[in-house]
Amino acid sequence: MTGTPSQDTVAQAAGTPDRPQPYADLGLTTEEYVRIAGMLGRRPTDAELAIYSVMWSEHCSYKSSRMHLRQFAEKAPRTAALLAGIGHNAGVVDIGQGYAVTFKLESHNHPSYVEPFQGAATGVGGIVRDILAMGARPVAVMDALRFGPADAPDTRRVLPGVVGGISFYGNCLGLPNIGGELAFDPCYAGNPLVNALCLGVMRHEDLKLAAANGPGNAVVLFGAKTGPDGIGGASVLASASFGDGTESSKRPSVQVGDPFKEKLLIECCLELYAAGLVLGIQDLGAAGVACATTELAAGGGAGIGMRVRLDAVPLRDASLGPAEILMSESQERMMAIVEPEGLDRFMSICGKWDVEATVIGEVTGTGRLEMTWHGDVVVDMPPRSAADEGPVYDRPAARPPGQQELQGDDPSRLARPGTGGELRASLLALLGSADAADKTWVTEQYDRYVRGETVLAMPQDAGLIRVDEHTSLGVALAVDGNGRYCLLDPYAGTQLALAEAYRNVAATGARPLAVTNCLNFGSPEDTSVMWQFTEAVRGLADACLALGVPVTGGNVSFYNQTADAAIQPTPIVGVLGVHDDVSKRLAIGFARPDCGVVLLGRGEAEFGGSLWAHVAHQHVGGRPPAVDLGAERNLAAVLAAAASEGLLAAAHDLSDGGLAIALAECCLAGGQGCAVRLPGDPFTSLFGESAARAVVAVVPGAEAEFAVLCASHGVPATELGVTGGSTLEVVDCFTIPLDELTAAHLGTLPALFG
């Protein structure tokens, strides 16, 4: 049957303690290898070594980040909304009316550089299975992307591939893509970031956990066959930097996705859940069968074990041996724990959806994870030793040597536009820069309409999905990050990313409720990177506490660097909010004339890390804008109340490019121009990036009521002007016809990417 020679068994391992093993090639240190042997009381078999190598990899074990991530739980604000928190496949949040939602961001950075189309596609597939494994129906996806310079040749290879992969996989699954973000910086050349988010919806009682219980219950592997895809991807690909001389062994191991299989798997799982046939479930992502078996067994509680016949795993390539089967990252697979009496129905539902399902083992009461290969025992280990008891490193962290100089390099020394003509030109230059340009070239490749529940999608501040057609309950989601801010001050920069996503959700009229994150950094073995990471985590945990929104889960992606050059620290923060009535959502567009344009919040001359400094001077220096979380809370409260009372015709948060870009986007999205008078120094008013601000259009007649609302929450409100006409006019400064704004905004990405 199989061409595999005799395998390294437990008995052989016990008898040959000194046989050399390739633990270093698998990414384990000598100390880690010695520790494994200590836990087992002998050297590991090859199959066991495979399991430990992937489960103790950075990607799966969070060994460099775990001690820091604890802050998310320790500092979590008190909330009754969290039904399942950190440590599960994804966090689950109560949104009322018996509904719960689950959402999570995850990186697929390294595979997307190696093979942009498949890397990004399988990134979507993986996060969707995480959401499915919680018992939820996936209902929407988003993505946060970073690439090298927009005009660099390699970006023309990577970006279209990544966008095509996300489009291909998400569209074929029938999941609306409701937003995200896209930015460019030389630091991401060679290290693009592809962070995918999935949102799922369920009833409270549908929650599923990754736990094997009840000795005698069957372990069922279902979905695609197992092939040689991505073997070692978790340990080798995701846990080492490019450019350190070992590419040849790393680069070919990207998985290949089949979204049609995944669509069937989704419908199949949901029908199995509804039939009450699934006691525990785990998706197969990084580390495949190794991860699913150890986590299910470890999740089952004291005394629970599992016996697995690896030779029962259906293979696409009959030459695979036990270690390869354990490590394979073949896509579109799930593992379920099923009672024997439910197996027939389980198999018949899988048959209906044309999903192959195989019993590969059973739950035991031995507390051991045992695996056999044609009768020989090749694994016999405590499951928790791999799943929960991996190494934890307190990596040394030190403020980077140049940090002080960087912060001292204030953009106030840069030449600024002064005249109306210069300010006008600056606005057009920013609006046409790849970072701020219209993203239709990308988003037009994504289906936003499928399922008929998408109330808001890009280029809106946040995506908004209706959860219940009858009650109009919905959820809003935004993802944000700013590598420049985080480079200048990772603590404040990460808080600003959270504040922006929080503000974006609030700008739709939703109440922010919970947080996910994907922490993209360079090598944790670099003390400067580790300092950035610890500052970012501390900043996020502190800000979540201050804003009253708990972190429900997330993902860490280290080693985003080429040789010694790390990316800018780029935590991407996702915020989920509840919308009580999606028919009252606020959109960014100035769609009706004669509305008062009002600026909310206070602006200062804050240009450190700004879009203006980046575009006009390729400058990153100084300090990022000041963080004021109290002001963010007040602003969000005003927006939610104003939306619910119908006082506003539009709302748009201020972020990159300040008021200038926000006003231009409002005009272009809604088709109405506006005439505004700036409250202070024109340059600062237009391009400063102070946080906790939004621009709104007030419904005619509601001005007084809105002013009272702002005053009662202590939110400064400055009347700027009025909507209408076909130009963006800044009184005494400049006027730009909307056609000219459109041309500057729309042309950039098509000119670059065809």
């Binding site: 569209n171 979204p259 049609f260 669509k263 069937l264 037009e444 289906d447 008929g452 109330v455």
Partner: protein, 225 residues
Amino acid sequence: MTARVGVVTFPGSLDDRDAARAVGRAGAIAVPLWHGDRDLSGVDAVVLPGGFSYGDYLRCGAIARFAPVMAELVPAARAGLPVLGICNGFQILCEAHLLPGALTRNSGLRFISREVRVRVESTVTPWTHSYAPGQELTLVLKSGEGAYVAEAATLAGLEERGQVVARYVGASPNGSAAGIAGVRSESGSIVGLMPHPEHAIDALTGPGEDGLGFFTSAVRTLAAA
């Protein structure tokens, strides 16, 4: 009697839920039909929804054509059962030779998801008769293989017999011949449409309500029959 309109789910169908909602909004009962059943449940009309049936393996719609449900649907459609194929459903109707021509890769080679204007060119079908001839609608186009092609003689025949149901206003977004967005069978009961009317039934979740007329047309036709 409330009309009963079947919505077929193939493996990989995605817009079946949206089609069923549109049928309901139009005042009919949506009846789910399963690809594997040789059974139309006695429905009065059928919608083949959008998606990637069978993963679009081989060619879009090429495998769905052989599904058991199609063995019932094809003769029923030939006998006059009103059938609307949207996007992938249109592709299936072409593959099943219920409609002429074929859908091929967009001229820009990328998937396109955008709101498009189309002009209703034929109102003699059960799916379009509540529109005015020449009426312009905003619908949603979302497809990678939406370019309608046919031999010159076939195209000429379609034009001659008024079988073009809808045409893109302005430049064709996907390279469709003669800007064709939808065609009908000679009898008119079978209509294939590349843009999605079921995504344009509610201004909250789509570009407006222009698409609802396809479904209310059918409901009125059935009520009058």
